[in-house]
Subunit: 161 residues, 3 copies
């Protein structure tokens, strides 16, 4: 994919990437999830409180795609939790910075959880703070910080956000 | 409207169409709803479970715009249900295929129901699996499959999704 | 920022403006909120019921940026309410009219409230009816009517929507 030449092109490319990303998780195609990241990516889930204070303590912290693959494998193996689905609704992203092939973007999101009995509940809200690398054929997250609005995290949290 | 020449143009056109579609339903202008479809359209509401298994059993199945018009007429006539409103929030669509004047696209959505007493509840989530025809002056759905995440459907379901 | 020359450009610019607007409120950077409006702006929060009947009675009515600044100052001073956060999820906007440097646009939105104890609740849904002025360096709202779907408004309502 060509490097975006202006903010409009970047906005379009990032919105598409986020839509693909959400579709991957929401369709439970988790084996494809690590492929959205660069080899030496950073993936982190943290809270707004900790993020604002620059506290390194995150709910999840991975610093390579390999760790994400391990995570998916563990999830598939364990699979002890109640079957549940997710639906990500992602806002239009804001382009924060463009520098060569790298784009920094942020987007608000909301995740609904679909329980086995069909009940829908508001699972999480927050924003993605993303650094996206357009160098390769397909854009990939070099960094994805999932900043959750709430401190209160469901202990079942295991699925990628 | 011109046939989109690339994915960016298609993405823009489809996002607009979905925004118009949602606004039509959410403003209760249902008489205009069938006009978003081609004459021999397919409109179907089904669940992710049934859709994945290719089960033809849907919650609603219509195979012409005429059937959609009948549906609206019936809704207006019956009108026995408690007055309620809807709010669709639709994610940025993914362009799945472009072939001539036809665009296949998917978009996640969330519908909030506003009850007569003002209470908001999370009514439905899912994705649209759409085939859009750009041949005519205005783009129209040749096919719209509403794939609901949950099996549990409110029996009051009558409003288009 | 250049005046949008077509609906695609307008759609992109408005979507970005709304994303920035939401990020400002959701990150509690309220001091920057009035800067999204023109000097002699109209900002109004009303319900769909009142809006459809053209009733001037709104929940909030301001007719200058100065009033918005006063509002933020009052909010910061009072600050007696329970600490809470917000998350706006805004749909793709519809461009209703373009006339010179002025763009009329509408967008559905949903606001989740994050209470101090971390509980998420569906706070409000509705649509923005916006008139945006692209004359100056940065696009600004000349008019922003927040049309809420529900009549039932939380009495704590104080934060900009």
């Amino acid at each position: 994919m060509p490097v975006p030449v202006d903010d409009a092109a970047a906005g379009h490319a990032v919105a598409n990437l986020l839509a693909d990303y959400a579709a991957c998780i929401d369709s439970d195609a988790l084996e494809g999830w690590p492929d959205f990241f660069t080899d030496d990516c950073v993936y982190r889930i943290t809270s707004a409180f900790n993020y604002a204070r620059n506290l390194p303590i995150g709910i999840i912290h991975a610093d390579s795609r390999r760790m994400l693959e391990d995570r998916v494998a563990a999830l598939r193996k364990a699979n002890i939790y109640e079957k549940q689905g997710y639906r990500h609704i992602i806002s239009v992203p804001r382009i924060v910075l463009r520098k060569g092939a790298v784009v920094d973007a942020e987007a608000g999101f909301l995740v609904v959880r679909i329980m086995h009995d069909g009940v829908l509940d508001l699972f999480a809200t927050g924003r993605y703070v993303d650094r996206i690398d357009f160098e390769a054929e397909k854009p990939r997250f070099a960094e994805k910080i999932v900043v959750l609005d709430s401190e209160k995290i469901d202990t079942l949290l295991a699925i990628p956000l």
